[in-house]
Symmetry: C2
Subunit: 112 residues, 2 copies
DNA sequence: TGCCTTAGTTCCAAAATGAAACTTATGGAG
DNA sequence: CTCCATAAGTTTCATTTTGGAACTAAGGCA
């Protein structure tokens, strides 16, 4: 079964996962909730490759979760901000955070 | 950056994703919350391949989220049940469900 | 004996990912 | 004007993961 086929699944959890059920995608959203919005910021914060980031951002925009917004007219540049639909994923991110704090202790320090 | 490196990330969301940040893994957990526990049940319910299912179940057991339990001594057979740690992922699944119900309407019927 | 069930494993082609270099468009230093 | 820097991507290619389908193991049952 292909990922995309999940978008019409009877189960709302499966449908949600068809768009955000991917490590990198959820990390991008975490970064958005932390206030980041630019390509280079996501790269630096999450450690994913530009390749994947570009692909995921495209998906998220198509899904109506992020909006691609021009923030500079000089050299035309774009960043990404949460739509209202995207904002409403906050509770999901928060439950994942809480679970992680409780059940996934840090073993050694990193700086990512 | 590799998936596993995420398990020691400073961010609790990232650490959580290092173990459940994958479509199939979350669908397995959904099935567990629906009361399923056996290999063949997960296969039928989720549509994933046996290959992937076996791999994910191993991960989830190692992570202490599921427990592999022998349920038949005749032909030795095993199934998988949520540990307490696993049970506590319920709120996360519920928020994903709520978001899906609100923002991911079904376009056409499926029978998966 | 021979077929059924159930939890896996194996094999291979196809798709996704990681790493790193390259592109495009413009601003600014000298 | 020339050259370097910034920032958002794109391209290329080797490696990894996935999907699909067949195969194995260990009994049960007729």
């Amino acid at each position: 079964m292909k990922w995309t086929e999940l978008s019409d699944n009877w189960c709302p959890v499966a449908r949600t996962l068809s768009v955000v059920g991917d490590r990198w995608t959820l990390l991008i959203l975490r970064d958005c909730f932390l206030g980041l919005s630019r390509f280079e910021q996501f790269i630096e914060s999450s450690g994913m490759t530009r390749h994947i980031l570009a692909e995921r951002l495209k998906r998220l925009v198509e899904a109506g979760i992020l909006e691609r917004r021009q923030y500079s007219a000089g050299p035309k540049r774009y960043d990404y901000v949460l739509t209202e639909k995207g904002q409403e994923l906050a509770p999901a991110l928060l439950t994942l955070k809480d679970w992680g704090k409780k059940h996934m202790p840090v073993r050694r320090a990193t700086n990512a």
